[in-house]
């Protein structure tokens, strides 16, 4: 599948998923499980950045996840 077509398909699927699920409301007094450390998106900041540095230096597809690609390091691709 051509890359731009794949990108459009993924974007459309993401928008559809957002529309379908956007109405869910979870009151604050029912979020005790969501507050568990394992549910945090960044439960170990240094581990995640260390892994990202390994990937950014050894794979051609760095960046795009809130991080600028390829910059800031002599080893970046």
């Amino acid at each position: 599948m051509p890359p731009m077509k794949t990108l459009r398909w993924v974007l459309a699927a993401t928008m559809l998923a957002s529309t379908v699920t956007g109405c869910a409301i979870v009151p604050k007094n029912r979020r005790e499980h969501l507050a568990d450390p394992t549910m945090k998106p960044d439960e170990d900041v240094m581990r995640d950045r260390a892994h990202a540095r390994i990937h950014d230096a050894r794979e051609g597809a760095a960046g795009g996840d809130g991080e600028p690609a390829g910059g800031g390091c002599g080893c970046g691709n």
Binding site: P3, M4, T6, L7, V10, L11, T14, A17, S18, T21, G22, A24, I25, V26, P27, K28, R30, R31, E32, H33, L34, D36, P37, T38, M39, P41, D44, V45, M46, R47, R49, A50, H51, R53, I54, H55, A57, R58, E59, G60, A61, A62, G63, G64, D65, G66, E67, P68, A69, G70, G71, G72, C73, G74, C75, G76, N77
Partner: protein
């Protein structure tokens, strides 16, 4: 007699009432919990006031050792025309500090240091030691200003230094918390400028060169249930300038010699990713699944899938295991042997990081959760991790890491 009794009872009642009123109006000891105040109590009066001045909330130290083995055609550590060694060893002492400035502003300061040995030895070490032994360090400061429950502003500044390269990044972002924090949407942008030495494949110095990177990201998250969260992001990056900081990388020629690599002077990169996180309270288990698609105008396309599982073994210790699969097509100007004659201006590289390959990775980590451990261990968090990464084009990495942290709250 009855009348006298009634008067006595009435008098006693008046005295009792007067005493109660007098007690209620008398100035007593002043406490935040004085229930006779007519104004409603504030949160601070109920739970006390926190220290609002500058203070450390958390500090963490992470020490990791990484060993890498493998071969790539860009490396000159081997015979000409054959893949050279990519062996190297890295020691990483990193530090992270969470600092609160006041009720609304927090700062996260990270100091990653990499001490690298034997990175492509015997390449250009006659002139530069950058490929034999190198040290790199960052100062990365992320600040968050949250004036209310809805709006959040972020800034980021990073400085980076290593022997052939110095650079800086500045960024800013905004996140809006919607529907009582059931959803968030965010946007941020970053600008990164790097300056570095240009050396050719024989180590000759060609002066300072630079590359500029501009990046914008969109993020969103949504609670789906009391145990489920999804989040997604899209990012686009534009780079301009000299895009190969390892300018001494070699490209083997068909006549048995080597030449330096040539990159286009700009690159547009895009990535989209989504993750779902699910906790199962009955078994104290959490699962996360993540997918990412990447594409750029070097015709490199990549897919990444990562699956992560967490399992509590006691209420304050959990085990984390992950598996990651990555595949990329490689850039359209990758070659392991350039035919002579060739176009001197056309892009070409033999960098194995830009070749077509698949990569696998697994990791196992044990974590002691801060705030849940018994007594004296309560403010501490500890973790130990082993990670192994391997590519189908001859590269293997093993990492061992230990982290110690302490909360000062």
């Amino acid at each position: 007699m009855a009348a006298a009794t009634s008067r006595l009872a009435l008098a006693l009642l008046v005295v009792i009432c007067a005493a109660r009123v007098a007690h209620a109006q008398a100035p007593g000891p002043t406490t935040d919990l004085d229930h006779t105040q007519e104004m409603p109590l504030t949160d601070a009066q109920i739970i006390g006031t926190a220290d609002n001045s500058w203070h450390f909330e958390d500090a963490e130290l992470r020490t990791a050792y990484l060993s890498q083995y493998g071969h790539g055609f860009q490396s000159q550590d081997g015979s000409i025309g054959a893949a050279g060694s990519e062996a190297m060893h890295i020691f990483e002492p990193w530090a992270l500090f969470d600092i609160r400035q006041n009720d609304h502003i927090t700062h996260q300061v990270m100091l990653p240091v990499d001490i690298i040995t034997a990175a492509s030895p015997d390449a250009v070490d006659a002139i530069s030691t950058a490929s034999r032994q190198n040290e790199s360090a960052d100062l990365d400061v992320r600040s968050t200003y949250r004036p209310d429950d809805v709006n959040q502003w972020n800034t980021r500044f990073r400085a980076h230094g290593e022997e052939p390269l110095g650079g800086g990044l500045a960024g800013a972002g905004y996140t809006r918390h919607l529907a009582d924090d059931n959803a968030t949407i965010g946007v941020d942008a970053n600008v990164d400028v790097d300056g570095f030495d240009s050396r050719d494949v024989h180590g000759k110095y060609h002066g300072k060169v630079a590359r500029e990177t501009a990046n914008a990201n969109l993020t969103a998250s949504q609670l789906l249930s009391p145990t489920t969260v999804v989040d997604a992001s899209y990012g686009i990056t534009y780079q301009h300038g000299v895009l190969d900081p390892s300018s001494w990388n070699a490209v083997p020629l068909s006549d048995g010699s080597i030449i330096g690599e040539i990159f286009p002077d700009h690159r547009v990169r895009q990535a989209i990713s989504a993750r779902i996180s699910q906790i199962i309270p009955a078994t104290r288990t959490t699962f996360k699944a993540w997918y990412r698609y990447y594409t750029d105008d070097f015709q490199l396309h990549a897919h990444t899938v990562e699956l992560v599982g967490y399992q509590y073994i006691v209420p304050w210790i959990y085990l984390r295991g992950s598996y990651r699969y990555y595949t990329q097509t490689g850039v359209d100007f990758f070659t392991t042997r350039l035919e002579v004659p060739f176009d001197m201006t056309a892009p070409h590289t033999s960098d194995s990081d830009l070749a077509p390959f698949d990569a696998n990775e697994w990791s196992v980590q044990a974590v002691m959760v801060r705030g849940r451990a018994p007594k004296d261990l309560k403010p501490w968090n500890l973790s130990a991790e082993v990670m192994h990464y391997w590519r189908t084009n001859d590269l293997r990495i093993t990492t061992v890491a230990l982290t110690v942290g302490r909360s000062f709250l």
